[in-house]
């Protein structure tokens, strides 16, 4: 187990005081994370010493930039158990999901084919399919929830002969539920479906290995795991990527362009059009190294402890309904809840007065909230630098909100 106080020393942001003169209890890590000096310095160093357009120049500097970029690809591959050639750099998990959905649909789907997703998906794994539904007439089916906030048992009954793709989240950004993606991929594959896993909420918090999961595609964001915004990864099985068309066109993704035609570059560059986000890739590599040093297993344990403390605190409050699993082992460090007397926005405003950053709203999962019969919820989510003391501050703020709204 690592020492979160020692970890905090690496994060300049956490030393800042809020307008209320306190340090911020930042409990919105499912949205984005703060950055350690190691990541910030790596980016600074890249621009001071190695900045040039990669894959372009013959001069030494461009080679250095290419080396930085490609070594980040290798680091990302190693982090999720993939080959470098299977890692496509994208803006974020959302762009990754869009790339995978569109390219896969162009290659293998026809009107009337069906895609199976779940009701706990983030909009990033719903809207790309809705767009394809409008554009090419595919149909979307949903795996429903069991009462405890996991996916329903016997979900495979939702696979029809027309189902070509099963695409689900590794971990829910609201319920925190960690899905048994290994079993889902094995079952889906047996039925001849392509499998896509949205790993945005899993990769930062647990050991994710695409080989062990057995998925065809996987996507995640850098900014939710200490790296900068604007860098993410779409993983695809090499043999599939070779059969799929490019997503965006432009520089770098071609071998040759003529007036009326073009020949694509090799995988993965075929999927990376235009000057890439090298600083983002450099930052991602530094973040991966930082997380590996802490150890993903230790991170998971640390978050489990914070999650347990939070669940216990919320259980004390008779007006609170916790959404999703109440066992910390089965979820990532995300706890969403509603209060039957205080609206999530009001609760978040009172939290803000206490310098506690807590999320309120639908968390980009509107169909999930509709299924749960609510428009919005409150959510706290943890990462490596969070402490038990911050959860105490969250509890105090909750009590204060109950006092303000005369619940007690």
């Amino acid at each position: 187990m690592f020492d979160s106080q020692k970890v905090r020393a690496d994060f300049p942001f956490l030393k800042k005081k809020t307008s209320k003169g306190k340090t911020l209890a930042y409990l919105d890590n499912a949205a984005t994370t703060q950055k350690p000096s190691q990541v910030l310095n790596a980016i600074q160093e890249y621009y001071e010493e190695k900045n040039a357009n990669p894959h372009r120049g013959i001069y030494e500097l461009s080679e250095k930039s290419t080396e930085e970029y490609e070594s980040a690809r290798a680091a990302a591959a190693g982090f999720i158990g993939a080959e470098s050639g299977e890692i496509i750099f994208v803006k974020n998990a959302t762009e990754g999901m869009n790339l995978i959905a569109n390219s896969l649909a162009s290659a293998f789907l026809k009107p009337g084919d069906r895609v199976l997703i779940s009701v706990m998906e983030h909009h990033a794994n719903i809207v790309p399919w809705l767009l394809l539904k409008q554009r090419m007439g595919i149909e979307i089916d949903y795996i429903e929830l069991a009462r405890n906030g996991t996916l329903e048992e016997n979900w495979e009954k939702r696979i029809t002969p027309k189902t070509k793709i099963v695409s689900v989240t590794h971990a829910s950004n609201v319920l925190g539920t960690i899905n048994d993606v290994r079993d889902i991929c094995a079952t889906a594959k047996e039925k001849g479906c392509y499998t896509i896993i949205d790993g945005a909420q899993a990769v930062p918090h647990l050991q994710a290995d695409v080989g062990k999961i057995g998925c065809d595609f996987y996507a995640f964001s850098g900014h939710k795991m200490l790296a900068p915004m604007g860098i993410g990864v779409a993983y695809g099985r090499g043999e599939l990527l070779k059969k799929m068309p490019p997503f965006l066109g432009g520089g770098d993704m071609i071998r040759r362009v003529e007036r009326q035609g073009a020949e694509w570059n090799d995988v993965p560059w075929k999927f990376e059009a235009g000057t890439p986000n090298v600083e983002g890739a450099v930052g991602l590599k530094a973040a991966i190294e930082y997380l590996q040093k802490l150890g993903l297993d230790s991170i998971k344990k640390h978050e489990e402890k914070l999650t347990r403390t939070t669940l216990d605190a919320l259980n004390e409050c008779e007006h609170v309904r916790i959404l999703g699993p109440v066992n910390e082992k089965g979820k990532v460090g995300v706890v969403a809840f509603t209060h039957d007397k205080i609206h999530p926005h009001d609760l978040a405003s009172v939290m803000n007065e206490h310098s506690v950053a807590m999320r309120s709203g639908h968390h980009c999962a509107m169909p999930l909230h509709q299924t749960l019969g609510m428009a919005a919820s409150s959510r706290v989510s943890f990462y490596v630098y969070n402490t038990a003391e911050e959860i105490e501050r969250f509890e105090e703020a909750l009590e204060d909100a109950e006092r303000i709204f005369r619940v007690k």
Binding site: H345, A375, F405
Partner: protein
């Protein structure tokens, strides 16, 4: 933000009801947080004689709607159209943080819609 007045209007809004046979009626919502306001106006000789609302949502959206509708009773329709965001903030008293302005102005949006197209 949560003054005694805001909390009082939130808990016991004096004008939260439907007006049967209202002359004008319209509805606005914010799907981001599920807040909803439906406004009802009774009008006589170009003047608002009764204004009420139905709705659900956070304290700010509900209190602001209630306060706003109370403040326009007796006013001419054309004057109500001149009511703006500043007036709502004045009614609410304290400072509203930027993220909550949408909540504060939902009632105003519903009112303007009611006068214009209801």
């Amino acid at each position: 933000m949560y003054s005694e007045a805001v909390l009082r209007y939130y808990e016991l809004p004096p004008n939260k009801s439907k007006i049967p046979g209202a002359d004008k009626h319209a509805h606005a919502d914010n799907p981001l947080c599920g807040d909803e306001i439906a406004v009802y106006l009774k009008i006589k000789g170009g003047k608002i004689v009764k204004a009420s609302f139905e709705g659900q949502g956070c304290a700010i959206s509900q209190a602001a709607a209630s306060m706003l509708l109370e403040s326009i009773e007796g006013k001419k329709l054309e004057d109500v159209l001149k009511t703006g965001e500043k007036d709502v903030l004045k009614l609410l008293g304290g400072a509203i943080t930027p993220a909550r302005l949408k909540c504060a102005f939902l009632g105003l949006e519903a009112l303007k819609k009611t006068v214009a197209e209801g």
